[in-house]
């Protein structure tokens, strides 16, 4: 296709396309990190992950309304407050769900799948009853809209930059929480040997609840960030679930680095293919490739070759 364009145009588009891929990558990472913790680390299949994201989105929506109504002065920065609240709300709901449901099902991963699917239906209807069936839009502060024009052709969407920065922060935060903090050590101890961890005085139940909550909370942040990009409706969460699971599984459950690598691979593949063919076919091809590779390498991209 280079034939039709000047060299300048071609490089610009390469840059733009690379950037589009990076945004998609950030989106995938945000979606998948929470799930990677819950599925990869705890072995729980949370089909309601999308609904936790939408919870974050609705929290942001409410915030934008309250802020415009009562404290318009805060409007330019309300998004940060909204994200914090989104995390708290999703975290709290996550802990509640873990306590009320998940903890009874740790030995039955397939059953967590069904139960959380039920949960997702209920949450959808709750959203619908509370917020109405219509898609709601969130008004963004002006500084978050629009783009930075680098050249005539290359324009960097600010919200894209924002999502990328957010992804970076969240990923590092997760890394520190899980791999550098005392609590993270407890989490990993429980995952590796629940009985032993209990025996040395770790409150395994609390660790479970908090880990699940953390995963949900990250979903909440993701949902909050997505209001900048997409729509918020009661059933919007379902759109993400298959993609998200594929990212985690493709990366190799249990490996956060794998999740990030797989998000990168899938997003770049999809974004590149979208450029050369119709969106539908790009999607089908991406999914097919992922499924195909998973069939050849079911353990995913990154996984420890462990001794059984």
């Amino acid at each position: 296709m280079i034939g039709d364009y000047t060299f300048g145009e071609f490089t610009s588009i390469l840059a733009m396309q690379g950037f589009a891929g990076l945004i998609l990558f950030s989106v995938f990472v945000l979606m998948a990190l929470g799930l990677a913790i819950i599925f990869g680390q705890m072995g729980v299949i949370n089909m309601a992950h999308g609904e936790f994201m939408i919870l974050g989105a609705y929290v942001t929506y409410i915030c934008s309304h309250i802020v415009t109504e009562y404290v318009p002065g805060l409007f330019p920065v309300y998004f940060f407050i909204a994200m914090a609240l989104a995390f708290v709300a999703a975290f709290a709901l996550g802990v509640l769900v873990e306590w009320g449901m998940i903890r009874f099902l740790y030995r039955r991963p397939l059953d967590t799948l069904l139960a959380t699917w039920g949960l997702s239906l209920i949450l959808q209807q709750v959203y619908r009853s509370v917020f109405g069936a219509r898609e709601v839009g969130v008004t963004l502060p002006d500084w978050m809209m629009g783009s930075i024009a680098l050249t005539d052709m290359i324009e960097i969407p600010i919200n894209g930059l924002f999502v990328m920065a957010l992804t970076l922060i969240v990923s590092f935060a997760v890394y520190f929480i899980l791999f550098r903090s005392a609590w993270g050590k407890q989490v990993r101890a429980v995952l590796q040997n629940r009985v032993m961890a209990g025996a040395v005085g770790i409150n395994t139940k609390r660790v479970d609840a908090l880990t699940f909550g953390l995963g949900c909370g990250i979903a909440g942040i993701a949902g909050s960030a997505f209001t900048m990009i997409g729509s918020t409706g009661p059933t919007a969460g379902q759109l993400y679930i298959v993609d998200t699971f594929l990212v985690v599984v493709f990366g190799g459950a249990g490996s956060l680095i794998g999740t990030i690598a797989s998000a990168f691979t899938i997003s770049q593949a999809q974004s590149t293919m979208e450029f050369f063919m119709s969106g539908s076919m790009a999607k089908v091809l991406t999914l097919l490739t992922v499924v195909g590779i998973l069939m050849l390498r079911p353990q995913g991209l990154f996984t420890l070759n462990i001794r059984r």
């Binding site: 324009e155 990009i229 999607k283």
Partner: protein
């Protein structure tokens, strides 16, 4: 038609239905009410429909639950308003309309099932309903088999002409051709980028648009489809930037809409600058609520009806609608088309002097409605409506400003020669 708009029951505002009656001025033009006693049931109903000496039963068949509820709610409201107004003005052949509402639940077999129930069990004299093409395709055989009347409100892809259906929305050529001519003439558009959600309506509409653009000697520089519910449009936006079309012709639907327009704006394409200009046939005032006026402002839509339409019929209609369903409500093209259904049926029944389906069918072509909010409509022999085509420009407040309308009515042409 448009599909997969996530959502569900918009809790119908509980205001009294009687509010609608206050809008009687609309009815002044409808002439004197007819008396049921002049039309004995035995003669006006020879096929065993649910018609008594003072009532007639009709069906309303839309999705109240499921993903389509969000879109179909407006149609239900409009149909109820029309029925209310007709009853207040004396009913049909002197008989009050009673409606039976069924939920299609966004599920096509359920539509077929409920359509059958309305026709077989309830003996409905007419059914107002359906929204997506898929639901219409599902019920069509039922209406043909049991000989019922369906009034279908949505703008759609055409390629269909059933004696049992009156299509009160525009078919694709009516909606598209005039609008394209207009952007070419007024805006000097030379190149187009076609984009759509991946299913029959956008594909067929784009096909018609492409043929028309090529007939005009202009260029289509790209044509793309994305799966329903897709939310990442950065790649296609890049392509658009690269190809630099004068017009983005977009038929994105549902949740994808929101993502598409937000990302378009974020990528630095300000629709208000009209470089490129965006032309759509899928975003009514209803959809703008979700997209946000600030993301949509400056885009052009091709419809036959906008809420801002300036005529007496429409003023009365909007007022009555808001009275019945609340001030915050917006009215889109399909809602208005749904409102026409009961009125067109009433006119046909009274012209035929009978509720019998076959007579209503025969009487329908040529029926006129001077009181339509969109102005004047008339039923064509092919059961679609003659109607004007209009172009509106989206404003920040989520309303459209009408910038163009055809001087003549557009002839409906569901099987357009040369566009297939």
């Amino acid at each position: 038609m448009r599909d997969d708009v996530p959502g569900n029951t918009l809790s119908v505002s509980r205001r009294t239905l009687l509010a609608g009656i206050a809008s009687l001025p609309v009815l002044a033009m409808m002439g004197q009410p007819l008396l049921a006693s002049d039309y004995p049931t035995a003669t006006v109903n020879t096929t065993g429909l649910a018609v008594t000496d003072d009532t007639v039963k009709v069906g309303i068949l839309h999705s109240v639950t499921g993903t389509m509820a969000i879109s179909e709610t407006g149609s239900v409201q409009a149909e109820k308003l029309a029925i209310e107004q007709i009853n207040a003005a004396g009913g049909v052949l002197g008989r009050k309309i009673e409606f039976i509402q069924e939920d299609g639940a966004s599920d096509w077999p359920t539509f077929a099932e409920k359509a059958k129930k309305l026709l077989v069990q309830d003996k409905a004299a007419a059914v107002f309903g359906c929204w997506t093409s898929a639901s219409r395709k599902a019920v069509l055989p039922v209406f043909e088999q049991y000989n019922g009347m369906l009034y279908y409100p949505t703008f759609y892809e055409g390629l269909e002409e059933s004696p049992n259906v009156i299509y009160t929305g525009q078919e694709a050529t009516q909606q598209i051709l005039a609008g394209i001519d207009w952007v070419v003439k007024e805006k000097g558009a030379k190149s187009f980028y076609l984009l759509g959600s991946d299913y029959i309506w956008p594909r067929t509409s784009n096909k018609i648009a492409r043929k028309h653009i090529e007939k005009l000697g202009l260029e289509v520089v790209g044509e793309e489809y994305y799966p329903l519910g897709h939310t990442q449009f950065n790649s296609v936006i890049n392509k658009i930037k690269l190809r630099k079309p004068d017009v983005i012709y977009a038929i994105v639907v549902g949740g994808s809409n929101v993502a598409f327009y937000k990302q378009l704006k974020a990528a630095g394409i300000d629709l208000a600058k009209e470089k490129p200009l965006l032309l759509t046939i899928s975003v009514t005032e209803d959809e703008i609520l979700g997209i946000g006026g600030e993301n949509m402002a400056g885009a052009y839509a091709m419809m036959k009806y906008f809420q801002s339409l300036d005529n007496d019929n429409n003023k009365a209609f909007v007022e009555a609608f808001k009275k019945m369903w609340g001030d915050n409500i917006v009215i889109g093209d399909v809602t208005q088309a749904a409102y026409l259904g009961p009125w067109l049926w009433k006119a046909a029944v009274e012209k035929a002097g009978s509720f019998d389906i076959d007579k209503v069918k025969a009487a329908s072509p040529g029926i006129e409605l001077t009181t339509a909010p969109e102005g004047y409509v008339k039923i064509h022999d092919n059961h679609h409506l003659w109607s004007k085509a209009r172009v509106g420009r989206a404003k920040l407040d989520g309303q459209y400003e009408v910038v163009y309308e055809t001087s003549d009515l557009m002839e409906p042409d569901p099987f357009p020669e040369g566009y297939q």
